[in-house]
Symmetry: C2
Subunit: 200 residues, 2 copies
């Protein structure tokens, strides 16, 4: 412990450094910033952490983060219950909701199958997804995990479990991003765009 930094400041920087994507330099900068806050602001920040951690839980149906037992999307009778969009995490739900196009429901896995990180299917909310298919009249499950090795593997694994249940399983389309150019597309994306070409 260096003598030139007050201990509580070092401890706070260590806390920030535990957050994903925050290195020790940034953590120190953030810790210094907290000291420039007013007492009220620092209290608000501190309480937001404990409050979020205490008040937020996983929805009993879709497993998305929520304050009430059942999240507002699962609880909304105007959302189409026959379609479930399976995503890796809550931020993916937020991304789909921002499109204002999707009217079905979600299922949040809270992770992807990743043997390297020691994450197997049992650590994800796959069991709860299967229970939803059995319990209600679901027609289609959209696998909306990322186009990465883990995302593909998880989509494949789950689709193999779902198909015997007689439900239609679909995957997001992959191709050129809108506004992108052929010139700057990577080979895999371009190949996917070619392979998944549609008649016009």
């Amino acid at each position: 412990m260096a003598e030139y930094n007050a201990l509580p400041l070092v401890k706070l920087a260590e806390q920030f450094a535990r957050l994903p994507g925050i290195g020790m330099k940034t953590a120190q900068r953030l810790a210094y910033y907290v000291l420039t806050m007013s007492e009220g602001e620092a209290k608000e920040f501190s309480e937001a952490i404990t409050y979020a951690h205490r008040a937020v839980r996983k929805c009993e149906i879709c497993q998305n983060f929520t304050e009430p037992k059942i999240c507002p999307i699962c609880d909304n009778p105007r959302r189409d219950s026959s379609t479930i969009c399976v995503v890796e995490g809550p931020k993916d739900v937020a991304a789909f909701e921002r499109t204002n196009e999707y009217k079905g429901k979600y299922h949040v896995l809270h992770g992807l199958i990743s043997p390297i990180d020691g994450i197997g299917p049992d650590q994800l909310h796959i069991r709860e997804l299967l229970a939803r298919i059995n319990d209600s009249n679901v027609d289609e499950v959209i696998m909306a995990t990322n186009p990465t090795v883990e995302g593909e593997a998880t989509a494949m694994y789950i689709s193999r479990l779902l198909k015997p249940l007689g439900v239609k399983v679909t995957r997001l389309a992959f191709g050129l991003p809108i506004g992108g150019t052929l010139e700057y597309a990577d080979e895999v994306t371009l190949y996917k765009a070619l392979e998944n070409r549609n008649e016009i």
Copy 2:
């Protein structure tokens, strides 16, 4: 407020987004991460904020952040009291201490003169610096602010106040960074390196 995000989560993300260099996307990612912490970890994080804010103050002499009234550097009789290194902020003290070369004391301004941001000399700890010069036997004041417009202006302003007090005022040397190459040095740095050349 979007319905798909639990309110405490949104509030926590807003808190993170107030930190410098943290955008709304990163803030959301951090807020989600806090929810994956154990209850103990979240409590520790929350308490580190309030504790740092409550327990850390400015040293009565050098204004650096400290837990005791007088910081360990000012309180260290083996540090040379005749030299004061004037810096913008506490992280600059940390940077100098890491060199293990500087044996004098510091004075932390907590900012730089910046008319654009509405920061004048009165908002910095310049008064306290002048008081230190008057009170004790200081031989040299090293202006160690950054080589930016604000850093230069602040160094010039303070040196003009100090010189009538009969104290030697110096400025950090600017030139080629060690390990750098001429080819990649910008014009101003190269000019400074030429101008400040030393006999060998």
